[in-house]
Amino acid sequence: MNLRRYVVLRLLQLVPVTLVVIIINFLLVHLAPGDVSIILAGDTADPAYLAAIRERYGLDRPFLEQLWRYLVQVGSGDLGLSFRSREPVFAEIMSRVPATLLLVGTSLGLSVIIGTVIGTWIARRPGSTTDSVVSALAVGLFSVPVFWLGLMLVLFFAVQLQLFPAMGMSSVDGPREGPGRILDILHHMVLPVLALMTVSVGQYVRLARSAVAEVMGESYITTVRAIGFSDRTIMMHYALRNALLPVVTVLGLQLGLVLTGAVLTETVFSWPGLGRLIYDAILARDTPVIMGAFIAMSVTVAFASLVTDLVYAFLDPRVAL
């Protein structure tokens, strides 16, 4: 199978996930207590807007026709209108993506690197005291409620030490452009990134540890030991390389958890990303935005799993494309 066909095939596998998610959305809205048009338009909507929404979703049409309309709408990228701003949800979501991407990307990158290094390091001697202690600590880390950790960081670094800003992505009176702005954003990023990174780093510590420990038990490691490679070289050059495969796989699968953490973190730090959008939507009961966010997050996670598969196929010669 050539690469292009593989990619296309995998892309096609996104379809069922997306369909299921859209149908769940649709069913939930219809099952929920209350009138569908009010759920979608908000209970403060004027009659004209209500009528417009009814028309838009074909709410007076038969059930299946409504579903079909909804599928077609969402499929063409129309996630409905936010009833607070009366703006398309899709545009609202897209405008928040960069901030979230910055936060999630940075903390994910850092936690994967740091987690893999620590995990590899403790895997040298599985079962040792260091290993047991660090492994237990890693479990402790991903058991931390990220929003609480955020608050504690604010309390300590922003309130007590006044080292870092407690909220937002940039200072109101900060520089608007150039390196000054970048520094300002970096300064604001420290605490949210730290919070999000801390709770996800534990996963990668454990993952890398078990992957490396497992690889170290493989016959080909015995072979290179017999050849005379030093323990260090074996660890860094062979074991780590083979152990990265499972790390990559899980990276994609865990994106959902990371996004969850991001929403909660953004809420704590008033980070102007998707999480904040969702939080504001919850406060205002702005259902279309929550629905849109659910679809967007699901598609992102499914897409990430696809990318992971591709990276895996690229890293592991045994996967024939």
Partner: protein
């Protein structure tokens, strides 16, 4: 199970977390009767810091934080139990149906499971709660409805492996219906990992509920730790205790659930424990200046003992093995699996498993001492064996067992090994050498760029042999080099080994369970049983007049038309398990000529001919 539990109790983390969960349960159950203020009572002054009146302070309404914490424990546990129970039940039902019936049902269900696994559950819960209202029942149901695919996937795998078991087949044959078979025979036996995962689900459920409450979607009428943090957030500057304590409670409970799950998982999964098992090697033995090699045998092993550390204790895999090998000589080491023959090979090059260590014995390789009394000999901080590996002694592993790295092309594996011991060599030289050894063993040069999985079994084994010959070693230890290959290829490879041995003047140790293979290739044979060499003699002698009853049994199991044959199948009785102890002969329970003496005293090592020894009271049944 008992050693597993023992290992478990040794883990402090497991005990501490169990204790935390128990305390939380007690607090949650007894909350109404504890001498605590009403969690919703607003009698006290607001914002009172922790002190004698209110140990953990009061919140913005003057409610006691400690009391709310205790009541919050109740809610956390209810959420944990109910959500994970519902999720597990759904998972078990769908997972077992999918695994048991297979076919279209399975295809459909497992696709559904896959799809649901991809849906980020928190956002779905969020949507459900936002649409249906933040009643606790909805929250718990929503959590369960988004987490069941985990249990379903585990259960499906369990059922798939269980349904072919004998007792399940027997139940079906006896006329049990599908439903009954599933409920009575399959599900109960597959539940262990579900329960393990349920503890992890509990932690997840508690965190999810807390996250929802923190976003303001928690049940307004319930006292929830997440809700407390939500309230405390706005008072962070004036009353930090409002958010600090519920967070610590959450962290402790969730971490405990996760650690419990981890501990259970490890106890149920012997493979994880094996990874953790590790033996402490004896301290190295410094010798100051390394002496130049003394002329003599290429390998001199004397009274070598190697033990494995397992949960159940120590077992001695190699128990007092001594032999010498002259330059150019070949020795076959045969015995059933588990007799210690492979451990012997690993011990010589000191590449044992992490849970193995040499506890006694001396080894000299190429006239250089590498092991004294089980301790590695070091000179100037460098182990003597380090400079001898692959240059003086190399190993051929069974390539079917992943002995070559699957993600590196075979050529690169050869050039890396070449340059390791020739630091000055250029890549080109290394490549030329790799090509040369490929020629030697008959692997086409184009194969240098291939990955192991692209080669046939025979080719892979030849690559492994080529790898061992890179540095023209004096001694090659081949550990089951032809096992798992088909007979024709086996013969070819053994023949090639034999030719190489002659051409290069190699000394060879061939470790095999196959008497036939050894007979073709080796001048001398050592038969191992339960960690000991029970008979050693020139090959011809062993085949013509075996003296030890075990050797005789091995030979009797060989088909008359000489050809390879799996020996253990032909032998009656269970092999001696290395954990047993006996004052007498280890072979006695299976020996056809055993006498009382055999069971009460260790047999002596007796010379029964020229270069022929046996470990037996009655060699060749002489006393009978």
């Amino acid at each position: 199970m008992v050693p597993a539990l023992l290992a478990l109790s040794r883990r402090a983390a497991f005990l501490i977390s169990a204790a935390i969960v128990v305390v939380t349960v007690i607090v949650a159950v007894t909350a109404p009767w504890l001498p605590l203020p009403d969690p919703n009572g607003m009698e006290a002054a607001p914002y009172e810091p922790p002190g004698p009146g209110h140990w953990l302070g009061t919140d913005n309404y003057g409610r006691d934080v400690l009391a709310r914490l205790a009541w919050g424990a109740q809610l956390a546990l209810i959420v944990a139990l109910v959500s994970s129970a519902i999720a597990s039940v759904i998972g078990v039902i769908l997972g077992s149906i999918s695994g048991y019936f297979g076919g279209t049902v399975d295809a459909l269900l497992s696709r559904t499971i896959d799809v649901f696994l991809l849906i980020p559950s928190f956002f779905l819960v969020l949507l459900i709660v936002a649409l249906f209202g933040s009643r606790l029942e909805f929250t718990m149901l929503a959590i369960a409805l988004t987490t069941w695919p985990r249990s379903a996937r585990i259960m499906r795998a369990q059922v798939l492996s269980l349904k072919s078991r004998v007792y399940v087949q027997a139940a079906r044959a006896a006329g049990a219906s599908h439903g009954r078979t599933l409920v009575r025979h399959i599900i109960p036996n597959g539940l262990a990992p579900i329960i393990t995962d349920a503890t992890i689900l509990m932690g997840l459920a508690v965190l999810t509920e807390a996250g929802l409450s923190f976003l303001g979607l928690g049940d307004q009428n319930a006292v929830s730790w997440g809700r407390m943090i939500f309230d405390g957030q706005r008072q962070l500057r004036i009353a930090p205790w409002m958010s600090i304590f519920p967070g610590i409670a959450l962290l402790l409970l969730v971490a405990s659930f996760n650690l419990l799950g981890d501990g259970l998982n490890e106890a149920l999964n012997p493979q994880l424990r094996r990874l953790a098992a590790r033996a402490t090697p004896k301290p190295p033995m410094p010798v100051g200046e390394a002496r130049p090699a003394t002329p003599g045998p290429i390998l001199d092993v004397s009274n070598l003992r190697m033990s494995y550390r397992l949960d159940s204790g120590q077992i001695m895999a190699v128990d007092g093995v001594s032999f010498r090998l002259q330059q150019g000589e070949s020795l076959g080491v045969v015995g059933e699996s588990g007799c210690g023959k492979s451990s012997l090979g690993a011990a010589i090059l000191q590449v044992m498993a992490p849970n193995a260590t040499t506890v006694a014995g001396d080894v000299d390789l190429g006239g250089i001492p590498i092991l004294r009394d089980g301790r590695r000999v070091v000179s100037h901080d460098r182990e003597m064996i380090a400079d001898l590996r692959w240059t003086t002694a190399a190993m051929i592993f069974q390539s079917a067992m992943n002995a070559l790295n699957p993600v590196i092309p075979v050529g690169a594996q050869l050039t890396e090994a070449y340059r390791l011991h020739r630091p000055g060599a250029s890549h080109k030289e290394a490549l030329a050498r790799a090509a040369a050894v490929f020629d030697l063993i008959g692997v086409p040069r184009e194969r240098l760029g291939s990955y192991p999985h692209e080669l046939s079994g025979g080719m892979r084994q030849r690559v492994m042999i080529a790898l061992s010959l890179l540095h023209e070693p004096k001694l090659v230890i081949a550990d089951e080099p032809t096992t798992a290959l088909d007979v024709l290829i086996q013969d070819q490879i053994l023949g090639e080994l034999d030719t190489l041995k002659r051409q290069m003047g190699l000394s060879l140790i061939l470790i095999s369970h196959d008497m036939g293979a050894v007979a073709e290739t080796c001048e001398r044979v050592a038969v191992m049983y339960a960690g000991e060499i029970v008979e050693m003699a020139p090959t011809e002698t062993v085949f013509r007049s075996p003296q030890h009853p075990y050797t005789k049994a091995l030979l009797a199991a060989l088909p008359t038309v000489s050809g390879p044959c799996r020996v253990p199948a032909g032998l009656p009785g269970e092999p001696f398990s290395a954990g047993e102890t006996t004052p007498g002969c280890r072979f006695a329970p299976r020996c056809s000529v055993a006498q009382d003496l055999c069971r009460s005293s260790r047999p002596p090592r007796v010379a029964v001919g020229a270069g022929h020894e046996a470990l037996c009271h009655f060699p060749a049944g002489s006393a009978a």
